[in-house]
């Protein structure tokens, strides 16, 4: 038994009396080999079985070389106390160490090492039990689990207890459920080999061929993105081309899945095309595919081929006018970024007779994310999982299979139930929503909710803190906000200037670098806000109590204090750790009422008025500098307080007090950014927003020019802001917002970065027109802010800077993670709103005004501002049979004739009927729009050319 230096004994991991099975009634320990773990780690994570597992060092190392994510999951398992996974360092033990023989492959050597270890373990156990006086019948068995036939045979020869995964699982209690989680790859491959497989896809290039190709510029490497409207169109952005490379059609996509890092070869110029103007959905294309027998078919089904051919024809006819984009085909995948996908089983692929029986059958899983192709899974529980949200893993995609092959992991619950949908959403956006582990909670202050700012100023907690308890500080937040990050104060100074303070929760006091809580927060990256739920970055004790700047109690804070002239020029700024006592926590509405009420003359209100006055001036300055005012559709879902069922949807109102808070937060962020950059030029945590390349705006500028005769200038943020201001339609006040929403989508996304990785001019925040920017004001809900806090604390010599935020490499890794988390959190939030909007509209039919945002040759996208929803109307939705159509791509007009005559043009106002349907493809309840009528001529005639036609 090993000891640590202060002679602390490490408790035994494995249980003394391990569980038994039919075959091993005396109890058994499991020793999986690498392949077993690679193929079926999900099984090992299952709580129904697989306890008392011995992980060998050889296996752990091999797994780490094969797949880092699996390795990390396994390490997680070894840390969990209940699963009892023990790591045995067999290579460090004389009896189990194996020397590689001459001519023996490394894999063979490792397999031999595993067998040797298993053998030694069973002998050792027998001895130990004998020594302890136990009977030899009670010695637990040590069982090697492997999927490698050769390995199993050799084990048999050596007299080592061994079992294939399938056989082992079959002997367990819940065999049916567990068997589904076994990867089917192997047996299928065996089956296929027997049938002399015919390859459907091109073989990938060898790694060395790809590497040389990328190096000498004949091939390009990039991340593969699928168009949300057309599953047969992908794009890869590579540095060598301004425009993204298009990858069209199944053959060219060649088994790449959204997010994979791929290597592509550019096709000859005569095959270059424009991005598709057509909506192509997998569901409608290959509805009747049979999941069991797909080998006979060609890769590209006839319908798909036709859909694409029309495309090509159209491009050819337009010749000179078109702006073809380079196209490419995937020749290799550098890194698969497969994750677990949430979806539902395609009911039509389940054979009726098998629904009841336990027969294994192949079904299609339709992922929630439209960009992911259907996944084939084999299951014995088809009948049970129909109509459920299920989680699956993709195992492989071979050349001879039209669809990727995966396996069932677990069911989340019935479709459309709140619990299942929320969990699906969290899984889909990779949000860590499990409760905080004990190690994290152990990092919290021992006093728990009773923690208070120490009364005596001699206490070490007061070291270096300024006592600001006397100031009239208040916080302004949305209604019901529990994690109050920030509070403000303002007071006049004798010289006519004002002292303004922004006080931010001092989270870095509680979350010390590199402890378990910090690590967890770093992984979570941000708090995720869903409509009915909040997934915290920090344990709630900190987030909603100890760190939250609640009113009437003393709290630690990190304060930025400025002296500001009445013209809102900053005379000097100062940063300090402090202790504050907030006087009141206002909601935006309350604060607004109080400021507007002339009878309120107390200091707090006066302070808020000062802040409001200064914030308006600050905002003006920002606007003059060229800050953009962008727009995204924002709605709020009102819920019934008891049942939390959504009842109504409101667009968010804007109040002056909101921009008051916003301005000062921006000011604090900018000042802090400058300070930490000055202190740590190489390692400051900053946030940048790149200037969007001109090509991003080409489409929008052209649309505005053609449709409205407006010009969009994009050479600087100032020009863009001005020309966006000029984009008004007198008759349609919403037009400006619509353009802003569309312009926002052309922007780059802002990102965190470490200052040493970019040149100073690149630091610029385009949207805010600020030279330098960071996030400092919400450390409770964003990890970046916490890092900025630590750096600022070091910059003012409050405490030494921790190693983790001193090294550029580590910071870069942190930035990369929080950028992804940030984006996922935003998307999860939006998806949650989308779901609840669907729920709120359930069973209702509303006619509402909307605007045409995008026109395709066989459909168009309508945006309804009232509900913030955006939805596609396909031609076949207009009438049956599908009306004939003429698409004028230059003028963005779609004209239909035949069964229904309509003319739809971009930016046009239309009236749509909104009702809800369950989308067949993703199983989501979604709002469906039906075109009732292009709007009456009086309101929508932007310029003369729009014809109004209706049925």
């Amino acid at each position: 038994m090993p000891r640590t230096s202060p002679a602390r004994l490490i408790p035994f991991v494995l249980s003394e009396k391990p569980a038994g099975t039919k075959k091993y009634s005396q109890g058994h320990y499991l020793v999986p080999d690498t392949n077993a773990l690679l193929n079926a780690l999900d099984l090992f994570e299952n709580t129904a079985a697989f306890y008392d597992v011995i992980i060998l060092q050889t296996v752990l190392e091999e797994l780490r070389n094969r797949s880092l994510p699996l390795y990390n999951r396994l390490i997680g398992l070894t840390r969990s106390e209940e699963k009892r996974f023990y790591v045995f360092f067999n290579d460090f033990r004389l009896e189990t160490y194996v020397v590689r023989d001459a001519g023996e492959s490394i894999n063979d050597r490792n397999d031999r090492a595993v067998r040797r270890a298993v053998k030694w373990y069973s002998e050792h156990l027998a001895q130990a039990v004998k020594a302890a006086g136990g009977s030899s019948k009670k010695v637990p068995a040590v069982v090697m689990l492997s999927d490698d036939k050769e390995n199993l045979q050799k084990a048999k020869k050596d007299g080592v207890e061994a079992c294939s995964l399938g056989d082992y699982v079959a002997g367990l209690e819940h065999a049916d459920k567990l068997l589904d989680m076994l990867t089917t790859v192997k047996e299928e491959r065996d089956m296929r080999e027997a049938r002399a497989a015919e390859a459907l896809y091109q073989e990938y290039f060898s790694v060395s061929k790809m590497m040389t190709g990328v190096k000498n510029g004949t091939l390009h490497q990039g991340s593969f993105n699928v168009s949300p409207y057309n599953y047969l169109e992908g794009s890869v952005h590579v540095p060598a081309f301004d425009k993204s490379l298009l990858v069209l059609g199944r053959e060219n996509i060649n088994r790449a899945i959204q997010g994979d890092i791929v290597v592509v070869e550019v096709l000859p110029k005569d095959q270059w095309q424009e991005p598709s103007t057509k909506i192509i959905e997998e569901e409608s294309m290959n509805k009747d595919e049979n999941p069991d027998a797909d080998d006979g078919e060609a890769v590209v089904t006839e319908r798909e081929k036709r859909a694409l051919q029309e495309e090509v024809k159209k491009v050819h006819s337009k010749s000179s006018e078109g702006r073809p984009q380079p196209t490419a085909k995937v020749v290799g995948v550098v890194k698969r970024n497969w994750r677990q996908y949430v979806g539902h089983v395609d009911e039509s692929s389940v054979s009726q007779s098998a629904k009841e029986s336990r027969k294994q059958q192949t079904v299609f899983l339709i992922p929630m994310d439209k960009r992911i192709p259907k996944i084939r899974i084999r299951t014995r529980q088809a009948g049970e999982i129909v109509g459920k949200r299920v989680l699956v893993t993709v195992d492989s995609w071979d050349r001879d299979s039209r669809h990727p092959v995966g396996h069932f992991v677990r069911s989340l619950g019935d479709l459309e139930t709140k619990g299942a949908e929320t969990e699906a959403l969290l899984l889909e956006y990779d949000v860590q929503y499990r409760p905080f582990p004990k190690t994290v909670l152990d990092c919290l202050p021992k006093e728990g909710h009773d923690w208070k700012v120490p009364a005596s100023t001699e206490d070490p907690g007061w070291r270096g803190r300024r006592d600001l308890r006397e100031l009239n500080i208040c916080s302004i937040d949305p209604i019901g906000c529990q994690d109050i990050d920030d509070a403000l104060h303002a007071r006049p100074l004798p010289n006519g200037n004002f002292e303004v303070g922004v006080h931010i929760a001092d989270v870095s006091h509680f979350v010390k670098p590199q402890n378990a809580m910090d690590a967890e927060a770093g992984i979570r990256g941000t708090t995720v806000y869903l409509v009915d739920k909040r997934i915290d970055m920090l344990p709630p004790l900190l987030g909603t109590n100890l760190c939250s700047l609640m009113p009437y109690v003393e709290r630690y804070a990190f304060s930025a204090i400025w002296e500001i002239t009445p013209d809102a020029d900053i005379v000097k700024s100062n940063f300090t750790k402090s202790v504050i006592k907030s006087r009141e926590a206002f909601s935006y509405e309350e604060a607004q009422l109080r400021v507007d009420d002339p009878s309120q003359k107390d200091e707090l209100t006066q302070g808020m008025r000062t802040l409001l006055m200064l914030s308006k001036k600050l905002k003006q300055k920002r606007m003059d500098a060229g800050a953009l005012s962008l727009s995204s559709p924002e709605v709020r879902v009102e819920m019934e307080s008891e049942t939390s069922d959504p009842i109504d949807i409101k667009t968010k109102k804007h109040l002056d007090t909101m921009s008051l808070v916003e301005e000062f937060m921006l000011l604090a962020n900018v000042s802090v950014a400058a300070k930490i950059y000055e202190a740590f030029p190489q390692t400051a945590m900053l946030r940048r927003h790149g200037a969007p390349p001109k090509s991003n705006f080409e489409e929008l500028a052209n649309q505005l020019k053609v449709k409205k005769g407006l010009e969009l200038k994009v050479s600087s943020s100032r020009e863009l802001a001005d020309s966006l201001d000029a984009c008004v339609d007198d008759k349609e006040p919403f037009f400006n917002t619509l353009v802003r929403i569309m312009a926002t989508r052309c922007m780059m996304s802002a990102a965190y970065f470490c200052s040493g990785t970019q040149a100073y001019p690149k630091f610029r925040h385009y949207g805010l027109a600020s030279e330098i920017y960071t996030h400092f004001t919400s450390p409770i809900r964003r990890y970046a802010d916490l890092v900025a806090h630590r750096q600022l604390a070091a910059a003012i010599d409050y405490e030494p800077l921790d190693a983790s935020v001193r090294s550029k490499g580590k910071l870069e890794a942190v930035c990369k993670n929080i950028n992804i988390r940030h984006r996922n959190a935003q998307q999860a939030g939006r998806a949650s709103i989308e779901y609840y909007v669907g729920q709120a509209l359930k069973g209702r039919v509303v006619d509402e005004e909307g605007f045409v945002m995008k026109v395709f040759s066989n459909g168009f996208v309508v945006f309804v501002p009232k509900f913030g929803i955006e939805s596609l109307i396909r031609l076949r939705d207009l009438a049956t049979p599908e009306p004939e159509s003429v698409f004028d791509a230059e003028n963005y007009i779609l004209k239909t004739s035949g069964s229904r005559e309509v003319q739809v043009s971009l930016f046009e106002k239309v009236v749509v009927r909104i009702c809800d349907v369950v989308e067949e493809k993703t199983g989501k309840r979604k709002v469906k729009l039906e075109l009732i009528d292009p709007a009456p001529a009086a309101t929508a005639a932007g310029n003369g050319e729009k014809g109004k036609k209706s049925k």
């Binding site: 230096s5 490490i10 190392e61 390490i75 045995f88 290579d91 010390k512």
Partner: protein, 254 residues
């Protein structure tokens, strides 16, 4: 070894399978080069060093004037072979790290040798590093001790050195962190560590070098482990010297 240091907590085994308080294998020989006044070859794990001693000899300076004074001067020269590390790199002649090591070794031995016995003279130590895998300074100090004994320069006691680190990084509040003895390169790159040398069997510290940051609380534990390691090193060095002594005695009796 592909496992990283974070797996230490899994089984309390280090990257190379040692426990926290175990030294690597130390092997040493003395009188390896007959032409030198004293010489030694020492391996601590995969760190391998040759040391030769010239002198005590009359001090010569470029100007011809007599330098030194009433005691001998200890000069140290370290050369690190280009092939000694994982990546091949040439060190500049006046590499700061090397000159710091030279000064450290020089100072340590000028305190321990009876330099007063040799006024106006120089003792030159020349070290060649053949292979590096952590604990370089400690290995150099140990090799020098052996070579000086071989040269017969009177000294108070052995200078025995080794390194000690801590599994906890700077500023993490992990109370359970173990100190580690005798670090290899990978551990040195990741963890805070110090080099400590003591005089013979005593607890008197003659060299203590630390270049990384560590919490003050960790230091005591590291130092205790390091000093304990030095005593183990002394036993080994003493064994080497005694073995050599026996050999000389045997051959003289013939």
């Amino acid at each position: 070894m592909p496992l990283d240091t974070s797996t230490y907590s899994l089984a309390l085994l280090r990257l190379d399978g040692r426990r926290w308080n175990e030294l690597r294998r130390i092997t040493a020989q003395i009188t390896t080069q007959a032409a030198a006044d004293g010489s030694s070859y020492l391996e601590m794990g995969n760190t391998k060093v040759i040391c030769t001693v010239t002198g005590p000899a009359e001090a010569k300076s470029a100007a011809g004037a007599r330098t030194g004074g009433d005691k001998a001067e200890v000069r140290v020269e370290i050369s690190i072979a280009g092939f000694s590390g994982v990546d091949r790199k040439r060190r500049a002649k006046n590499d700061k790290r090397i000159s710091e090591m030279q000064t450290t070794i020089g100072n340590a031995f000028s305190q321990t040798l009876f330099t007063k016995l040799y006024p106006h003279s120089t003792i030159s130590l020349s070290l060649h590093v053949l292979s590096q895998d952590g604990s370089l300074l400690a290995t150099c100090l140990n090799a020098c001790t052996l070579a000086l004994i071989d040269a017969g320069v009177p000294m108070r006691d052995y200078i025995c050195a080794c390194t000690a680190g801590s599994t906890s990084s700077y500023s993490s509040n992990d109370e359970q962190a173990d100190p580690l003895l005798d670090l290899n390169t990978m551990e040195e790159q990741e963890l805070p560590f110090l080099t400590v040398a003591t005089l013979g069997t005593t607890d008197n510290v003659s060299v203590l070098v630390m270049e990384t940051r560590v919490q003050v609380g960790r230091l005591e534990g590291m130092l205790a482990v390091g000093v304990d390691g030095c005593k183990q090193v002394r036993e080994i060095l003493d064994g080497v010297v005694k073995k050599r002594g026996h050999k000389i005695l045997e051959s003289s009796q013939l």
